[in-house]
């Protein structure tokens, strides 16, 4: 009896021991090793799916879409679902424009998320899914994305820039405002079943994406189209190295249009050459020539060194200074400040500069914004070149007075001329009107008061005469409006020192209506091979006139007939002193 009892106790004890061991093992796996096995399980079933943020659109000032998103699919593979990589590759390769071998290599993975191809169109993606279902294969999935598209193609390409293959801005506004345009991608932790379908009730942590902000530019596409058409016609007709035009609102500094040639299509940026992609309005500097005379005139007048009645002897066209002869195109005797600007006298401008202290003159050049970046929100802007007085030689001051020995960018020149147009305030160029939802329009930013209003008005008045028959740019006239402006004809600098013969950068910078300026524009034509007729007044001024005329019509500006009669009253032949 006791033997039987002993056996029972032994078996029971053995069972207790076995179950104790099992229990201990269970506790060990469930408690001690909980984190480890949870992670293993999550790795097996749970994956982090990114939810891409929608990139913000770029709009013009009237809401016209300049950069939009086209939905495309990203094809990704879950390596844990792929049993036969070669079979999947054989089915999928034709839809993905890849070779079977290449795709097989990519699919031979155990990673749960491997991007196979981005930018697959909706049609191809649907075809791929149907083919996979038909063949009973698993492992390839779709994820929504978007491709950037620029519906206006080449138009405004240098301002807009483009988005590279990573989806981030690589140039222009796309690059500078990339963070605001991109937004913040979200994500969702999901678990999937054996067939790779999401098990919705086991959705884990989720963070919704923050879509990128829409950016509204100050650009007016109506004006941009006008500028593009004219600059394109000039480029095709004259075959210059480059052509640039900018339109701004001189009162607010808003950039209304900006175009350069050569240009490119941002939808096919990988086909563009580097010289096509340069936004020459901000990345190229040039000697401005006579357009720079507004600086010395403003400075001398504002400092009281000359006044409206001061007359300067212009040496009859030959002025010997510093061992060099400075020439005017036509010999002049005594000229007033008004006439120096109207006739674009080099000697008159040089003599005005010589009356000023070096530092004073330099200070005015800098106050007009030359030698520093304007702060326009575009990448690649340069500050130009203005040497301080310590680095000047004897001739520098006289040369700077007529726009040599100094290098400026087109945007700097526009903003400086705008200061004359708006009564003496240097404005910061404004390209972005608002960001995101709502009407929170950014305010214009005046940088400083460069000259007194009276000074600016006098120079503005003198610049009106530049467009008269006695001036250098009668071809810049716009029917129905008084135009104020200045021509520039500068010899190109040789890379070996000195200047190149018969090769010029010609320009015209002006604004209208002169009394109450609405539009400020500059046209620059670089090295057009047209021989001796290559002057700002003959090449750039007519382009400005055409742009201005069409822009006035587009903006429905009221013609001011009385004032125009005064400007164009002396109808007759165009004088030969156009420079």
């Amino acid at each position: 009896m006791s033997e039987t009892r002993g056996r029972i106790c032994f078996v029971c004890g053995l069972l207790v021991l076995i179950f104790t061991l099992f229990a201990w093992r269970l506790i060990y796996l469930q408690v001690s090793q909980h984190d480890y096995f949870s992670l293993k399980a999550a790795e097996k079933h749970s994956i982090r799916i990114p939810i891409p943020a929608r990139r913000g659109r770029i709009l013009d000032r009237n809401g016209e879409e300049l950069a939009v998103n086209i939905p495309v699919q990203t094809v990704y593979a879950d390596g844990t679902h792929i049993r036969n990589a070669a079979a999947v590759a054989g089915v999928a390769a034709p839809f993905l424009d890849m070779t079977v071998k290449e795709l097989t290599e990519k699919l031979s993975t155990q990673r749960p998320y491997v991007v196979i191809r981005k930018g697959v169109s909706e049609e191809k993606a649907e075809g791929l899914i149907h083919a996979m279902e038909k063949s009973g294969l698993h492992g390839l999935y779709l994820q929504e994305g978007a491709e950037r598209s620029y519906p206006n193609e080449e138009m405004l390409c240098h301002v807009l820039g483009f988005v590279d293959h990573t989806g981030h801005g690589a140039d222009g506004i796309e690059k500078i405002l990339d963070q605001e345009l991109s937004g913040q991608d979200g994500f969702r932790m999901i678990e999937h079943d054996r067939k790779g379908r999401e098990i919705v009730i086991y959705r884990g942590q989720e963070q919704l994406p923050e879509n990128g902000s829409d950016i509204r530019l100050s650009i007016d596409m109506g004006l941009q189209a006008i500028v593009e058409r004219e600059i394109d016609a000039t480029y095709k007709e004259l075959h210059p190295v480059s052509a640039t035009a900018i339109l701004t609102d001189p009162m607010t500094g808003e950039v209304l249009a900006m175009a350069c040639r050569p240009n490119y299509d941002p939808n096919r940026f990988n086909e563009a050459k580097p010289e096509q992609m340069r936004n020459r309005a901000i990345t190229d500097m040039y000697e401005p020539g006579s357009t720079f005379k507004i600086v010395v005139a403003d400075a001398a007048l504002n400092e009281g060194i000359v006044d409206e009645n001061t007359r300067i002897f212009c040496e009859n066209g030959h002025f010997s200074y510093g061992g060099k002869i400075l020439k005017d195109h036509i010999g002049y005797g005594e000229l007033s400040l008004h006439d120096i600007l109207m006739k674009s006298s080099n000697i008159g401008s040089a003599k005005m500069a010589l009356r000023m202290a070096d530092n004073t003159y330099y200070d005015y050049v800098r106050r007009f914004g030359f030698g520093e970046k304007t702060g326009i929100p575009l990448n690649g802007e340069i500050s130009g070149l203005v040497n301080p007085p310590q680095r000047w030689d004897m001739l520098t001051k006289t040369r700077m007075a007529m726009g040599q020995s100094v290098a400026v960018t087109p945007i700097q020149m526009v903003m400086a001329m705008s200061a004359v147009a708006n009564g003496g305030k240097l404005m910061k160029p404004r390209l972005v009107l608002s960001r995101g939802e709502g009407d929170n329009v950014e305010a214009p930013v005046p940088l400083r008061e460069v000259v007194r209003t009276k000074t600016a008005n006098f120079v503005s008045n003198a610049l009106q005469s530049v467009v008269s028959n006695q001036g250098t740019a009668p071809l810049a006239r716009i029917e129905g409006f008084t135009v104020a402006g200045k021509t520039g004809t500068a010899q190109k600098i040789s890379p070996h020192g000195g200047y190149l013969d018969n090769r010029y950068i010609v320009s015209f910078a002006g604004f209208f209506p002169a009394e109450h300026p609405k539009l400020m524009g500059i046209v620059i034509v670089d090295d057009a091979p047209i021989g001796k007729a290559n002057f700002g007044g003959l090449v750039a001024a007519p382009v400005f006139s055409r742009i201005g005329g069409k822009a006035a019509r587009y903006l429905d500006l009221q013609p001011e007939s009385a004032a125009v009669m005064a400007q164009s009253g002396n109808a007759g032949s165009i004088p030969g002193s156009i420079r």
Binding site: E122, E144, A146, P151, E154, I199
Partner: protein, 134 residues
């Protein structure tokens, strides 16, 4: 042999049995209900997934159509159609444009007038003050 002739019997405790059977039944039903709810959850999850996919598809189609409309009405596309002669532009002469006076702002009293009372308005449409203030 006069033993107890009463047959031995074990009384069934109905109350006890019913209590346990009820408990087991309740647990069973709760389990079944749990399974039912879980299945419902999965079914609703599947529906959610399908609706989300359909929504995504509609959104994508909508976006694609909007992008197509933008591309087809872009300035470049319109210019090409103009060049092809699909439509043409007719210039409007300045003499054919009538410019009307700008709309009047509300008066300080907040009342918008129905007509300009400015006798010097450019189109000469000024009306006598008396007529407006009746």
């Amino acid at each position: 042999m006069n033993g107890n002739r009463r047959r031995p019997s074990n009384a069934i405790e109905i109350n006890f049995l019913a209590r346990w059977l009820g408990l087991v039944l309740m647990i069973g039903l709760a389990g079944l209900f749990f399974v039912y709810l879980k299945n419902q959850q999965h079914a609703v999850g599947d529906q959610t997934r399908q609706v989300e996919a359909a929504l995504r598809e509609i959104e994508a189609t909508n976006e694609a159509l909007k992008a197509q409309i933008t591309a087809m009405t872009s300035r470049g596309a319109l210019q090409r159609r103009l060049d092809d002669g699909y439509f043409k532009l007719e210039p409007i002469r300045d003499t054919a444009i009538a410019r009307v006076t700008p709309a009047l702002q509300a008066e300080p009293d907040g009342v918008l007038r129905t007509a300009s009372r400015d006798p010097d308005s450019r189109l000469g449409l000024g009306v006598p003050q008396r007529a407006i203030n009746r």
